[in-house]
Symmetry: C2
Subunit: 220 residues, 2 copies
């Protein structure tokens, strides 16, 4: 965020914003260069080409997310609280930069477009995704095995969690039209956590256990 960042970081920052907004195929290196205050060919001094730049952008945001999620999984509380914290941490990560969710969701699709001109850096991206998925799957399995959660399908529940978080914050104008406010406003983020937690606690958590919910915590 400071003005004394290297050209390389500046390029990554503007490329992240552009790829999130217009996608891999929709962004030209000319755009990226000019937004970074350079001329197009100067990019090739920092990155081998478009595909590598994209892979580095994607890898950077995935690592950012993983760094927020891993500590939650290692914390020593009960499974139910760990899931709450995991979801909150993911939402915080997505809400930190307005481009993150879109970049991730687009990344899911554009693998086709960009695996064509494949680069070795793409492997690091896949590994980080696998690690994140592995973490949440272990957590859910632990909950199901110990009876803290219903006997849900772990993969399907992972998909639901991704949809409820990444899709939501990537939904742009459609989501903002529904909510009537910016998706990343403090109120909307807070409310998203609350709604999702309530859904999970009534939907995931076994029904025949003592449950101390502070009824209707500050609804509008």
């Amino acid at each position: 965020m400071t003005e004394s960042q290297s050209s390389r970081d500046k390029i990554l920052d503007v490329a992240e914003a552009l790829f999130a907004q217009r996608g891999y195929a929709g962004v030209g290196l000319r755009q990226v260069a000019e937004a970074a205050g350079l001329v197009k060919s100067s990019l090739f001094h920092h990155f081998r080409g478009k595909a590598q730049l994209y892979a580095e952008v994607l890898g950077r945001v995935l690592v950012r997310i993983r760094e927020r999620l891993d500590p939650v999984l290692e914390s020593g509380t009960d499974t139910e609280r760990k899931l709450d914290r995991w979801v909150d941490a993911l939402i915080d990560a997505l809400a930190e930069h307005p481009t993150t969710a879109r970049l991730l969701l687009r990344g899911l699709f554009e693998e086709d477009d960009f695996r064509a001109d494949s680069v070795p850096e793409a492997e690091a991206v896949e590994e980080t995704i696998a690690a994140i998925l592995d973490g949440i799957q272990r957590l859910l399995k632990e909950g199901v095995d110990t009876g803290a959660f219903r006997e849900v399908s772990v993969p399907h529940t992972v998909q639901t969690l991704i949809g409820a978080t990444v899709y939501h914050f990537a939904s742009g104008e459609l989501g903002e039209g529904l909510l009537g406010r910016p998706l990343l406003s403090a109120e909307a983020v807070r409310r998203r956590k609350l709604e999702l937690r309530d859904l999970l606690h009534h939907g995931l958590v076994g029904a025949n256990r003592p449950r101390a919910r502070s009824a209707l915590e500050g609804r509008s």
Copy 2:
């Protein structure tokens, strides 16, 4: 599906598949033309340009979906069953063509790319989206007002439903890696409906009402 379809329909079909796979910016009209058995310039006899072709593709799948959802909303059962049927109908619509979910989710993002070269046909797309969203919002509001559902936020719940359905079937390799089978296999579609219904019934439906669930309906 027959071989005696008009060139126009053939173009729409192959464009739908290509736009779903590679996105608006990622598809060239040359690809579309050759996949339809024509040369590029022949497309311009049927469509004014790339943006209009894309708008018509998008409009067609949205109308297909709306035609499946509207009858559910007009059926005369209780709110809870209507929601179940609405979700099932949406999943059936998404599972009917393997391209639908991706096309829709990409459509959310690519509005930027393609609103640039704006076409009047885009309005019909917006209207169909608005009608679909209005329908599910009314249904959810009815459920909250009558006490059939918890006091959830209607817009947030719409977002969760979209994420749990459209995202899921658009998730491609990531989703298939998680589930270990094709997303559109009969078993995976059946299971998705079941998992989502269970989540909603334990999460959306009020907890202090008589609930006759046929315990563990055929889990693997």
